[in-house]
Amino acid sequence: MKNVRRTGLRALIIAVLIGPVLLGVAQTLSAAFGWLPALGERTIGLAPWRTLLDQPGLATSVQLTLWTGISATVIGFALAFGLVASLHGRAMGRSLMPWLAPFLAAPHAAIAIGLAFVLAPSGWLLRLLAAPLDLTHPPAWALVGDPLGIGLILGLLVKEVPFLALIMTASLSHLPVRRWLIQARSLGYTPAATWLRVVLPMMWPQIRLPTLIVLSYALSNVDMALILGPANPPVLAVTVLRAYTAPELSSLLTAGAGAALQAIGVLITFAGVWAFERLIGVIGRTRLRRGRRGRLSGVALGLAQALNPILLGMASAAIAALAVWSVTWRWSWPKPLPEQLSMAAWQQPGDSWIGPLGHSLLFAGVTTALALMLAIAWLETEQRRGASLLAGILYLPLLLPQIGFLPGLQFGFLQLGIGPGLLAVGWAHLLFVFPYVLLVLVGPWRGYDPLLSRQAASLGAGPLRRLFRVKLPVLLAPVLAAGAIGVAVSIAQYLPTLIMGGGRINTLTTEAVSLASGADRRITAVYAILQMLIPVAAYGIAIIAPMLRGRRHRLLREPRYATGD
């Protein structure tokens, strides 16, 4: 009986979270092959693909997508690894989280807007350099909207490096890194060589999934690409979004084919990662057998370490630029600072930010609470073994490109009678908030010492009491961290809000992205700042609350994992 209930609950969670993804994928695929009976499109065939492939610039779009997505992921991985390796064992390394939190928390759109304010030809950087370089006009080159997508890659890096660094730090706590470093040194290997040849391969299985999530996002994001990416042609995901919103009926089919192409691209790069993993395994083993001590590793790692301060400095400048622009009245080129300050952008009467702020808070609060409940239910009903494949499917929404199934999902929801609105948007947010929350909670849940609950049981506590009075208080810190990440993920959602809300639901993010291509940097900055403040506050609570409580309940601290450190 208990097993039946458990299986039922788990099936329900999968149905709620994966059902919509499959529905969306099915609708998208059928559209890609010409089948949309409700629109009178019943000619199954390759016509949508032909239209898609005939679009001017499509080849460039695909190349751009692969180039920006893959290089952002590879460089981001290297920089994050360099950061983690260089800070490991140092005092700063232990408090890495508070340093990275603002960048981790900041929504993609806010970072992109801030970077554009700094890096554009008329941006802050060149305003500062205009006098020394004797520039009369903003120069004609730019890192924003550049045909190589450098601006887009930089934007993605700012978001990916902190995320990957955090994941890597968490996985290191399970590995006896210090012992390995000492042993390898006694064999004549430099620390850098040890990091690359021992730690990285051991760490990889634990960070493979997050890396694939980063890769999928980098290949298919829309909001950063709209703000920082090239425009003529844009990356594939933006091309698909344009086809989806074009007024001609037939372009919905083209959008379906484009979405399928996007998904295929992501899957091919996943296959590439798999093949690369095998290849490295083979090459690595032969090279290890040759016994070289790898002096070059130090150079490679050193380079990655040197680039991190530049990247984080740029990201800090981006956030500072948002703050300055939001209180500017007039700041003409090439003044290094605003000529006139004003709070006008915060006080605009007509277009208030209150409504979008309310929507953002509503979605973040409700979907995070729901996701926490579902994730804890999922983990609590987990059988010891054999659940990994099923658990894997829960990450599907993060591994598939959003543009690949959201348009189909909107269509599917409509047929089920769920029109665009709060429910559809909230549900879509949950699809992305839940897996991130689960990702954060899985480790701590597995590391939890079951003895504590058993002792409580022996004192007569029932299952719910054990959960709420013992386990959750012990795991408070990771639960709060998961909540903070949930809030940040929900706040940052652009495409789900746009598509599932039918444009009727404005959040800070949809407003910020649409304002970013407008004339008024000041109002854009206000939305970007607000958009950033909510997740930063959530992170602040997640970091500070356990510290405060830790003083009172020293005994109930989360047990340390077997770290070997």
């Binding site: 006009h137 919103t245 407008g518 004339a519």
Partner: protein
């Protein structure tokens, strides 16, 4: 014979009197139905002043008719058209999510051809008596397509350039002059990407000025020789493209972004579909006070912006009430006020009473606001099919 005519008149008079009467009671019925409704007005939201005006309209209709407005902000009108299309596809023929739509041109043609519009309703609006609704007038023709009462006008749009008088002395006023100017000042001019309607409008303005016989543009493109009609345009564009901002490698995504480039000094000439936008931007601190409007010598493209009601709108009555309020002399005079919006009215001043006209005559002035006379000749929009073909051909020629 006389008898027959008399009979005809006798039959006709009560009938038309009756329709007059029922349209009166119909309107009262509409007002009653509309009470308490919230109209989801889907409108392009790229201009803060327009957004503020829409908010004012909502306050007014709520106070006067108990009809609230929710402005659904679009970055592209096509988004809302797609939504109606999707709803129809999913069988949602009632309770649709779009009640009122700011629309014109290709989007209107697309919805009209797919029978996605409610109406005809314009003549049912009491305030339509202030409009010139004669056949072929600007208020009944949208990009050469007859509106057939399916959309109601609300504001005039005119294509203009703008520039900073502190930086540019002799701005070019024809397309050939613009080419020479761009060659002399490389990198100082650009236009929005033609995927954006403003970029497409710039191409249409250039086409009208350069094509041998502009009359062919009034017909659907299938009836004309597209290649020979557009050959001078592409020759001209091939010549100017290398001298555009960033070598024509990239384009601003819309006119607001281009205005920001002008404000930053990254380019010298901007463009707009609203002659009042320059004065408005100066007031908001978004352009230098020395910015002025530049009007093409041979006149410029103009059109009327409309509102339409989708066939499956949930609050049809409320949407009609809003459409009617938009063409009231009170709303139109406020709209034309440069301190509010500055968009020119669609009303026929001949049909207004003296006191109504006085509202318009009392409106304030601004140095960067051109007069209606200074705007010169209005060039008619080409048939929408030209715009579609122009965008496609441009993309094929200039997207790598």
């Amino acid at each position: 014979m006389t008898l027959l005519v008399g009979l005809a008149i006798g039959l006709a008079t009560p009938a038309s009197a009756q329709t007059g009467d029922t349209s009166g009671t119909d309107w009262e019925q509409t007002l009653r139905e509309a009470q308490g409704q919230t109209v989801y007005w889907n409108a392009w939201a790229g201009d803060q002043r327009t957004n503020a005006f829409i908010q004012w309209v909502g306050e007014q209709t709520e106070a006067r008719f108990d009809v609230a407005i929710r402005h659904v902000k679009l970055s592209d009108t096509a988004e809302a058209v797609t939504r109606v299309v999707t709803e129809k596809a999913a069988g949602r023929d009632e309770n649709g999510s779009v009640d009122l739509l700011w629309i014109n041109g290709p989007n209107f043609l697309s919805m009209k051809e797919q029978d996605l519009l409610h109406g005809p309703f314009v003549r049912d609006l009491p305030n339509s008596r202030y409009l010139d609704l004669s056949r072929g007038s600007a208020n009944t023709t949208d990009f050469t397509v007859p509106t057939e009462g399916l959309e109601s006008p609300w504001r005039l749009a005119r294509f203009v350039f703008n520039y900073d008088t502190a930086r540019v002395d002799n701005p070019p006023r024809t397309m050939p002059a613009l080419l020479e100017w761009a060659q002399a000042n490389p990198g100082r001019f650009t236009h929005p990407h033609p995927d954006n309607f403003m970029g497409a409008t710039f191409l249409k303005q250039a086409l009208i000025e350069l094509t041998p016989d502009p009359a062919v543009l009034q017909e659907p493109v299938e009836n004309a020789d597209f290649a020979s009609a557009t050959a001078p345009l592409w020759d001209w564009y091939d010549a100017i493209q290398p001298h555009l901002w960033r070598g024509g490698e990239t384009y601003p995504s819309n006119e607001s972004e281009q205005q920001r480039l002008v404000n930053d000094g990254a380019v010298d000439i901007g463009l707009s579909f609203d002659p009042a936008s320059t004065a408005a931007a100066i007031k908001q601190g978004l352009l230098p006070p020395t910015a002025r409007v530049l009007i093409p010598a041979a006149g410029s493209i103009g059109n009327v912006s409309f509102v339409a009601i989708p066939y499956n709108a949930r609050h049809t009555a409320g949407a009609r009430v809003v459409a009617n309020f938009l063409i009231s002399p009170r709303a139109q005079a406020r709209m034309q006020n440069i301190e509010v919006l500055g968009a020119f009215s669609v009303l026929d001043f001949e049909r207004l009473s003296d006191s109504q006209r006085a509202r318009f005559e009392a409106l304030p002035d601004a140095p960067a606001l051109p007069t209606r006379e200074a705007l010169g000749k209005t060039l008619p929009e080409p048939h929408p099919s030209w715009m579609t073909r122009l965008i496609e051909t441009w993309a094929q020629r200039y997207t790598r």
